[in-house]
């Protein structure tokens, strides 16, 4: 069963990686951050972060350590590994190229209508 709200395969992962690039975060903070920055445009089920994080842990893109959050909770903080950093750069640039392509294809159609 794939997550319906995952826009395309890997989109959620990409958002997580991009967020983690700025600073290490724990799961709840990650979810809030993605929600806030996307202005609630992307309806991401909070829980779907966790299978995605497990996949990235297994692929060695991120690593996790138990720590204490700013609100004094015992949380698991995720941060990018060097491999994850490299991966996100590659993926973002290819994503941007794809987005640019889509925009170009869509633009004239809008002009004609």
């Amino acid at each position: 069963m794939t997550d319906q709200r995952d826009l395309f395969p890997g989109a959620l992962e990409l958002m997580i990686l991009q967020t983690l690039k700025r600073k290490p975060l724990h799961g709840y903070a990650l979810a809030q951050h993605i929600k806030l920055t996307s202005n609630d445009l992307l309806q991401v089920e909070e829980g779907s972060l966790y299978p995605a994080l497990q996949r990235m842990l297994k692929a060695d893109l991120v690593k996790a350590e138990w720590g204490i959050s700013s609100t004094n909770r015992r949380v698991r903080i995720y941060q990018l590994t060097p491999a994850g950093r490299k991966h996100v750069e590659r993926e973002v640039s290819s994503f941007e190229r794809m987005l640019e392509g889509i925009t170009r294809v869509l633009a004239p159609a809008k002009g004609r209508s």
Binding site: M1, H26, G27, E45, G47, Y50, P51, Q54, R55, K58
Partner: protein, 886 residues
């Protein structure tokens, strides 16, 4: 992270994940409580926003699992529980698959040994046999072609001297019995005659000593012998000093020049020792008596060998072209394995096809049963679908049960195959066991694996198709897919297919049985009761003198006649049921004068016809007055008189045998014999002529005894105890150094001549019986299920006045429709399939209408009984209660 570390860190990973998710929910709830929500509401809202957290946690865990493997194991465990719940079905299914897969494995092992497994020599792909491609119009005008592997001395010399691309060697493919004297004892041993370079061509180095030199392979070269490991070990206690010493063979000293390794198997598998072939253009070299082996030289190609062979034209080729319309012969090299398997290949392929059919029938049968099992589980499956199971998950289960069954059947089948192979090996005459023996190797195991997978797929495909059509709502309401016309049609098709394939097997078995009955019922032409025979080798230096030979016969026969209980005794070069010597003759007078051809022949002593009770139809038998000094005489059998002399009134006519004209003095009845020329059946009433043993010249005797060992035959008035020892003693009185090889009754000889046919009949009959049983079970199951489904229907009709008898008749009839369809389809299939059997049938046509009719009726009657039994349940239907139960 390595997979092993992953495996052991799993519990920690899982704990981290659940703790983390729990923390997430707590944090969210705490935030909401701070915003003024009650604790319960906050927790619920946190969960809502999180999504289905059990499922998400599971997805998180799955990342760390080998999903396929674990799902697979789960499915197998589930299937095992399902099968364990119904032990009767499971045991029966595994048993059927054990037999079917076991039979396939065993038969494929035979095919493997014959055609696929490399011969037990180094670089077997560089080995070939020399054959003649022969084609031309036969006596009935049909254009025929074939390959012959017998070669004459001229051809041997031509290829030996002109083919440079291959190492050439000649051999006799069978052994001769000869006498080996060691100490006081004389033994009958099996000698294979091979040329120089023979072992070099095979690529086998002697364990001790060397192989034969060119010098030793020339006529009247030094007498040398190479021993097999077994003989060297058993008779000479593995004495290495034996090399260079001489042992007494055929009454003369032979120098031991080599001992072969224990692993060596030559084309004559019973060889105890080897002596030089000494091929030449004379004597045996005048006929097609040699087989020729080639080994490709390093760097040479088969194209080069064949080009060299094509340029050779032995004089026999032009003779053939002169006498046969459009006759043509050509020398060519074929892979040695192919040549060795020439005769066994057609029956092996036929039996392989038969065991494939039995596996298909077993699959159709189990597919039908499996269909019923899953039909009964319709509502369970619908419930699971309703609860969110994917169709994929259900399909995996449909495949898991058949897979489990066929894996169990496959493992047990391998064990069964080992038993079957032992039985084959015991039933086959030694010369028909493939070189290298029968066994289960990696290739055979692979076929077993393929059979297991194919079986599982074939069994699963029908339930899988049926389950695709399960719709949740009607199924939950208690209706089963069985009531849809689609799945009951699937069962009817399965039963029809089983019946069709069974009919093919039954027809095949029927034809083979008719062939065997025909062969066994061939008028033997003699009386086999109270007759015992034994062979001795006269390939002895002292019997190169014809006077010594005649004295031996007279003295030994006289001694045998003195044994109490013995009525009469005789000697003949060959017996009924034994292949005879072929010799040429020319008809000198009468309507067929000038006929010049060859026929089966044997020398016999005067009492031969009397001892065997072969009737003398005209003229006289041989007498003691027919001697080397008297007029040469000959007796022909009825077939010979009709075929070559044109009538039965032939006493007084003349045949030229060799140089002298012989007078026909009698005509005797035919006996059953394996033909030596134009082999069309394992036994037939061959044309044959007999000559008196007393008129054989020394030269003829020497040649004949190189190939054939004459038989002593005694007839007793009843069972005589110790007859064998008494016969051996009688022979020893005439010659103390002459051992008898083996004692046989004539019934045993008949059994040996028809061993292959017996084996084929036994195998195909067992397979056909199993097939019949399986398809009857299929028909029975179909009809009893139909009665069950139509209970209500029948109940209503009976309430409306339909009689029980009519209801039974109608149920049986509609149940037998697929059987009738199957029989029709089977007959059509048989038209094609039975062509495979043509080479195995004698005396019956491959589409014998009587046999086809008989097996169709058998199938129909058996199916009618199988269908009638379950429809009797109709009688127990109580209209009132069936109506109420709905």
């Amino acid at each position: 992270m390595s997979w092993l570390r992953q495996l052991f860190s799993r519990p920690r990973v899982y704990n981290d994940l659940s703790a983390e998710i729990q923390e997430h929910l707590e944090e969210k709830a705490a935030e909401l409580v701070q915003a003024g929500m009650s604790r319960e509401d906050a927790l619920a809202a946190a969960r809502r926003q999180f999504g289905n957290y059990t499922l998400l946690e599971e997805r998180g865990r799955e990342v760390w699992q080998w999903r396929w493997l674990e799902q697979f194991l789960r499915d197998i465990r589930f299937a095992w529980r399902q099968l364990a719940r119904n032990t009767g079905f499971t045991v029966a299914a595994v048993l059927v698959l054990t037999l079917a897969i076991g039979a396939n494995t065993a038969m494929f092992s035979m095919i493997d040994a014959l055609l696929l497994r490399p011969l037990p020599y180094p670089h077997p792909e560089r080995l070939a046999a020399l054959v003649r491609d022969v084609s031309g119009r036969n006596s009935s005008g049909h254009f025929v072609s074939g390959q012959e592997n017998g070669q004459d001395g001229e051809t041997w010399e031509l290829v030996r001297d002109n083919v440079s691309a291959a190492i050439m060697a000649a051999e006799k493919r069978d052994t001769n019995g000869i006498n080996l004297k060691s100490g006081k004892q004389t033994r009958y041993v099996h000698d294979q005659r091979v040329s120089a370079m023979y072992f070099d061509a095979l690529g086998i180095k002697p364990l001790l000593g060397r192989s034969f030199t060119q010098e030793e392979d020339r006529p009247s070269g030094p007498d040398v012998v190479i021993l097999s490991y077994t003989l060297w070990k058993n008779l000479f206690s593995s004495d290495p000093a034996l090399l260079g010493q001489s042992i007494r063979l055929k009454d003369v000293p032979y120098t031991v020049v080599g001992v072969m390794p224990a692993s060596l198997q030559t084309t004559a598998q019973d060889a105890d020792l080897w002596t030089p072939l000494r091929p030449s253009r004379n004597g045996e070299g005048e006929g097609m008596n040699y087989a020729i082996v080639l080994r490709l030289r390093d760097g040479a190609t088969w194209a080069e060998v064949n080009a060299e062979l094509e340029s050779l034209h032995p004089s026999e080729f032009s003779e053939f072209a002169k006498h046969v319309p459009q006759g043509e012969e050509r020398l060519t090299a074929v892979p040695l394995q192919k040549d060795l398997a020439r005769e066994q290949k057609p029956p092996a392929l036929m039996l392989m096809a038969a065991v494939c059919l039995i596996l298909l029938i077993a699959c159709a049968n189990l597919a039908g049963l499996m269909l019923v099992r899953f039909t009964r589980r319709t509502s369970e499956i619908a419930t699971r679908l309703a609860l969110g199971a994917t169709h994929g998950a259900i399909m995996r289960q449909v495949f898991a049960e058949p897979l489990l069954l066929s894996v169990m059947g496959g493992i047990a089948g391998l064990a069964a195959a080992a038993v079957f192979l032992k039985t084959f090996a015991a039933m086959l005459p030694p010369e028909m066991v493939p070189l290298g023996g029968l066994g289960i190797d990696a290739r055979v195991m692979f076929l077993t694996l393929a059979a297991v997978v194919a079986t599982a797929l074939l069994i699963a495909i029908f339930p899988a198709l049926a389950i695709r059509n399960i719709h949740i709502t009607p199924s939950l309401a208690g209706r089963t897919i069985a009531s849809t016309p689609r799945s009951s049609r699937a069962r009817q098709i399965l039963v029809g297919a089983e019946v069709a394939l069974t009919l093919v097997l039954l027809a095949g078995a029927g034809l083979l049985i008719r062939t065997l009955i025909d062969l066994q019922n061939l008028p033997a032409g003699f009386d086999s009761h109270n007759v015992l025979t034994a062979k001795a080798s006269l390939d002895e230096a002292r019997y190169h003198d014809d006077a010594a030979f005649h004295r031996l016969l007279d003295e030994s026969l006289a001694a045998m006649r003195r044994i109490p209980g013995v009525d009469s005794a005789a000697v003949g070069l060959s017996l009924p049921y034994e292949r005879g010597l072929n010799d040429g003759f020319k008809v000198m007078d009468g309507p067929t004068a000038g006929t010049n051809t060859a026929s089966s022949t044997a020398y016999v002593t005067p009492d031969y016809f009397h001892v065997l009770r072969i009737p003398v139809m005209a003229g006289r038998s041989f007498t003691d007055a027919d001697t080397a000094q008297s007029e040469p005489v000959v007796i022909v059998n009825v077939s010979f008189a009709k075929k070559y002399l044109g009538s039965l009134d032939v006493v007084g006519r003349h045949l030229r045998l060799g140089k002298t004209p012989s007078t026909v003095v009698g005509v005797v009845g035919n006996v059953s014999k394996p033909p030596g020329i134009n082999v069309q059946a394992p036994l037939s009433t061959e044309p044959m002529f007999y000559v008196p043993a007393a008129q054989q010249s020394a030269k003829d005797l020497q040649l004949i005894h190189l190939w054939f060992q004459p038989s002593w035959i005694v007839r007793t008035s009843g069972p005589v105890t110790g007859l064998r020892q008494a016969m051996q003693k009688a022979l020893e009185q005439a010659d103390p150094d002459l051992p008898f090889s083996a004692f046989h009754t004539l019934d045993e000889l008949q059994g040996q001549a028809l061993a292959q046919q017996h084996l084929e009949v036994v195998l195909l009959t067992v397979l056909a019986a199993l097939a019949l049983f399986l398809s009857l079970v299929g028909a029975y199951g179909l009809i009893s299920n139909m009665v069950l489904q139509r209970r209500r229907d029948i109940g209503i009709r009976m309430a409306l006045g339909c009689t029980v008898a009519r209801a039974i008749r109608e149920t049986t009839t509609s149940g037998l429709l697929p059987v009738a369809g199957g029989i029709t389809a089977g007959l059509v299939l048989a038209l094609f399939a039975l062509r495979l059997m043509k080479s195995q049938l004698f005396g019956v046509r491959n589409l014998d209408p009587m046999t086809l009719l008989a097996v169709s009726l058998l199938m129909l009657c058996a199916a009618a009984v199988a269908g009638f039994l379950p429809s009797l349940q109709v009688a127990r239907i109580n209209p009132a209660s069936t109506l109420r139960s709905e």
